[in-house]
Amino acid sequence: MVQARELSVPRRRAARTGARRRYAPRWRVLAVFLLPALLLYSVFIVYPLVSALDYSFFEWRGIRQTGFAGLGNYRDLLSVYPYDQQLWRAFGHNALFFGGTMLIQNTVGLLFALLLFRYGRGKRFLQAAFTTPYLVDPLVVGYLWSLLLNPTFGPVNALLDAVGLDSWALPWLGDTRTALPIVILVNAWQWVGFPMLMFSAALAGIPAEYHEAARVDGASAWQAFRRVTLPLLTPAIGVVSVLTFIGNFNAFGLVYAMAGSSGSPAGSTDVLGLLFYRVGFVEGGVEAIGRSSALAVLMFVFIFGVSLLATSYFRRRERRLV
């Protein structure tokens, strides 16, 4: 690392003088290198995103712009039935999704990382086993669990019956009270390997002397964890939290597979991703373009804004550690 940094200064300068000497005739050459990527990226990624912002400020009748709307589409989303109810409900579900995931998936991931840290034989196998579901498409995970949790033919309830817990055998995905928690648990089942691996890597980076010093000072295992290990995990906690947040607020495939595009039963699992799809392509009506674009902009501002704030918060926490 140090070596690379020392070398990079003269190297950069050399590249620069070389570049200057061949500056004039190279524009055509540069174009061959840059244009394909530039075109592809600008047409299919940048242009649609900029258009979404643009579209959100206009009134639409089908695919025809009928006038400038200002913030009209945004106001409609917050005040016109059924969006005024669905938007906040979906937002609330996303917030619960995120909270539940932090509480269950990331806490369990940390626990597994801690337990596996000094684990002997079988550690590699266990790590591989915990991360395997993450290789499966979220859509497949959703469909698989909807079969496993089926109230009549599903193995989960059959298992509960077999061990005498038949009163626990609920119609998991058919009940408005259990559906969202089940979605959160299934999502955690798929992703728990990710925080485990992140925390394992972070734990491996903590010098052993810190733990020894804590033990010499007579700290209990819990005190050592709370006062030494946990603060040193701040960077990893930050990364895991922000990525969990972005992932949860963009959730689509898993929920679609388990609850359809309307977040059944009775919208109890509806999330922003599903709502966005419905407003744009299922039930948006003639104003679909304007409203779904406005929703896209709101989601972007919220997700991007919170991610930035959280990142800078964790940076400050980290700096206080040093």
Binding site: P48, L139, P155, F281
Partner: protein, 276 residues
């Protein structure tokens, strides 16, 4: 702490970890086992080893439910997109990483911005853009879109790799009279091969799983990719559970195979790059 007090704790740790390993793997095992059993058997006993394993459901899913078509489409779209995305990014990252020209910094930042943009939020404009180009319900349209979505990540990773190569390499070649294209093709590209392998894999997985774009952009059954086909299939075969499980296995298997093959390939590529 005495060993007597630690022993039950250790047992609890073992139980917890190995117990959870069962929870993590059992659903996938059940998926595989039930795909080998007839539906009637699954309905009477959801959790049982297959008495006489049969590949009947796979045959049905592969031909009747046109999974062979979905599979081929996924392969064309994902493979094509990864090839195009990696190729154009390998080209673009080279001058961005190794030359200073007017606007090079701006262009670098422009590509980098794509890493932070939630590109799916452009879905509605993408739909009308594709519509205006006649690319709705078209594998070509989906391929180009997928390829474009990989560009920011590839440019970012490949630039870092190009930058880490010693400057003397291209200077010497230039003194010997080699043009930019020869330097790129014969010196730079072979040296970043390990990076090409890993960006290929990292693009492949999310694109193979992509569901929202095909849900909106594809219309006809013969154009469906696996995830899109799977959602169709789950609506049609609701009561044929054996087929449903077989469909899930078929949708999952390619990535398991790829992962097993590719981890070896990537590790080999990385170590080969390091020994030079």
């Amino acid at each position: 702490m005495t060993s007597a007090r630690r022993a039950p704790g250790r047992v609890a740790v073992h139980l917890l970890l190995w117990g959870y390993a069962v929870v993590a793997l059992l659903p996938l095992v059940v998926m595989l086992l039930n795909s080998l059993r007839p539906t009637g058997e699954i309905f009477t006993a959801p959790l049982r080893l297959p008495t006489s394993p049969t590949l009947h459901s796979y045959l049905k899913v592969w031909t009747d439910a046109s999974f062979s078509t979905y599979f081929l489409n996924s392969l064309i779209v994902t493979g094509g997109a990864v090839l195009i995305g990696t190729a154009v990014s390998a080209l673009a990252a080279y001058p961005l990483a190794r030359h200073d020209f007017f606007g090079s910094r701006f262009l670098g930042a422009y590509f980098l911005a794509g890493l932070m943009l939630p590109i799916r939020l452009g879905l509605v404009p993408i739909f009308y853009l594709m519509d205006s180009m006649g690319l709705i319900d078209s594998l070509l349209g989906l391929t180009l879109l997928y390829a474009a979505s990989g560009v920011p990540f590839c440019v970012f990773v490949l630039s870092a790799f190009y930058r880490s190569l010693p400057g003397e390499l291209d200077e010497a070649a230039r003194l010997d009279g080699a043009g930019e294209f020869r330097i790129f093709g014969q010196i730079m590209l072979p040296l970043v091969r390990p990076a090409l392998a890993s960006v290929t894999l990292f693009q492949f997985v999310p694109l193979w799983h992509e569901f929202l774009y095909p849900l909106v952009l594809l219309r006809s059954d013969e154009k469906f990719t696996i995830p899109r086909g799977l959602s169709q299939f789950f609506g049609e075969y609701t009561t044929d559970w054996s087929a449903l499980f077989a469909g899930l296995v078929l949708a999952t298997a390619p990535l398991f195979v790829l992962f097993v093959l590719a981890t070896k390939q990537i590790i080999a590529g990385l170590t080969a790059g390091m020994s030079k």
